[in-house]
C-alpha cells in the first residue's frame, strides 16, 4: 500500500538537500527592488511643488495633509506637508497625479518605529535637510 510515492517524495527532499539555497541573507544582502518600487517616504521637491493639493485630494486614505498659504503676490505656497506612512496604501495615486512630478518614493522597504508618530514625516523638513546635505557635500567637494 504505502511505498513508491513515499520514496519519490524522499528523493525530492534529498535532492534539495544538496542544492544551493535561495535565501537572501538579509542585512548583508539587500533585496533587489527595482526602479518602480513603491515604498518608504514621499520625497517632495518643495521648489517644484505648486501647492495645488491634487495629491492630497487623490489620496484614498487621507495620508497626505498639506496646508497652503498665499504669499505677497497672491500665489499659493506650501505651508506644511505631512505624509503619514502609517496610513499610506502605497498606491502611487499621489505620485501619478502630481502635475509637476515633484513627488518620488524614497524606496526604503523596511522602516519601523516604536510609536505611530515615528511613521509621520514632515516632507518639507526632509526636503530642507536634503538640500542642506547636498550643499554641504558640494562645498566639501569645492574645498577638496
Amino acid at each position: 500500500m504505502l511505498g513508491k510515492s513515499l520514496l519519490t517524495g524522499m528523493a525530492v527532499t534529498l535532492r534539495e538537500l544538496f542544492r544551493k539555497n535561495v535565501t537572501e541573507e538579509y542585512p548583508e544582502v539587500q533585496p533587489e527592488l527595482g526602479d518602480r518600487f513603491r515604498g518608504g517616504r514621499l520625497d517632495l521637491v518643495v521648489s517644484k511643488c505648486i501647492a495645488c493639493g491634487l495629491c492630497m485630494n487623490n489620496c484614498p486614505n487621507g495620508s497626505i495633509k498639506l496646508k497652503t498659504v498665499k504669499d505677497e503676490n497672491n500665489k499659493r505656497q506650501l505651508d506644511s506637508y505631512i505624509h503619514n506612512t502609517g496610513l499610506c496604501l502605497f498606491c502611487n495615486l499621489c505620485v501619478e497625479v502630481c502635475p509637476t512630478k515633484c513627488l518620488v518614493w524614497s524606496k526604503e522597504f523596511a522602516y519601523a518605529g516604536y510609536s505611530r508618530d515615528a511613521l509621520v514625516f514632515d516632507c518639507m523638513a526632509l526636503d530642507r535637510e536634503r538640500i542642506h546635505r547636498e550643499e554641504q557635500s558640494q562645498t566639501t567637494e569645492e574645498k577638496g
Binding site: L6, T8, G9, G34, C59, C91, N92, L93
Partner: protein, 364 residues
Amino acid sequence: MQTQTFELNMGPQHPATHGVLRVVLELDGEIVVKATPVIGYLHRGIEKICENRTYVQSIPFTDRMDYLSGMNNNLAICQTIEKLMALEIPERAEYIRVITAELNRIASHMITIGVLALDLGGWTGMVYCFRDRERILDLFNSLCGARMTFNYIRVGGVGWDLPEGWLDECRRFLKDLPEMLKTYEDLISGNEILQMRLKGVAPLSAERAIAMSASGAVLRASGVDYDVRKANPYGIYDRFDFEVPLGTSGDNWDRFYLRYLEIIQSARIIEQALEQIPEGPVMAKVPKMIKPPVGEVYHHVENPRGDLGFYLVSDGSPKPYRWHARRPAMINLQLLDELSRGTFIADVVATLGTLDPVLGEVDC
C-alpha cells in the same frame, strides 16, 4: 456508555485557520458534530469605505480584500467601472491584464497547495510553493513596484507598460513551471499519505454546491462546469484556448487537485497571450474625474477563489452610491459546517484548506 459532546474553539489564534477565522467545533471525541465559523475579526468595512471614495480610489482597497490575488480583484473592479462608463480598452492593456491575472492565479493556487500541505503536516511542500511563488512576485514587483497590493490594473488600462525584458522573464518562468509542478506532484499531490487524507473526505454533491452558491474550484470539483472565463467571457478571454478542469466527487482531493490542474491551464493562457500581445498604448483616454452616468452595473470575473462580482450603483457623482462585492471565499466558507460534520478534527483543517478562504475577503 454515556458520552458527552464538548466545544472546542479553533482560532482566532490557531496555526491552521488561515488568518483570523474562529471555528467553534462541537466534538464527540475526535468527530465533529457541528462546526460554526465565526467571522469578522478582520472586518474593515471596505464596502462602506469605498462608497466614500472616488471610483479610482477604490481600486487599492480591493487589493486588500483577497490579498493573495490582487490582480484579479483590480481587474474585476476596473472592468466593472469600465462597463459602467462604456469605456474601450487598448489591446495591449487587455493582454497585459490577462497575463498578470493568470500569473496571479498561479501564485494564489501555489499558496493553496502549499498551505494545504502544511495543514496536513508537510512543512517542506509549503516552503517549495512559497519559494516558487516568489518568482511571480518578483515579476510583479518589477512591473508595478509592489508584491501583493498592486493597484496595477486601472480604469482604462494598466498603470505601467511592461518594463524591458519582462516578457522574457515571464517566458523563463513558464519554462520552469513544469519542473516546479513535477516537484509538487512528487512531494505533495503524489504522496499516498496525503491522498489518503483527502480522498473521499467531505464530498459535496453538485446540487448542494449549486444550492449553496459555491463557485470556483469548490463548485467545479463537484463536476459543475462553470467558469466565468468560459460561461461569461470578460475582457479577451474568448480568444484563448484552454480547458476547465472538472472534478467528479467534490471531495477534498478533487478540490485540491483541481487547483493543481488549473495552474497548468493558466500557464497555457499566458503562453498564448505572450505570443499574441501587440504593441501600442496601455491606457485609454480617461477623464481626470470619473463621473459615470447614472445607472447600476454588475460584473463578475473568475478569481482564484471563485466568482468575484462587483455591483456598483452610480448617481452621476464622482463617488459610487453603492459599492458591493460578491466575495467568493465568504460564500464558499459557508460550506464548512456541512462538509465537516462527521469528519475528524484533522479533516476540518483539510476541508478549510480546500475551501481556501482568505480572511481578508471573507471579512472584507
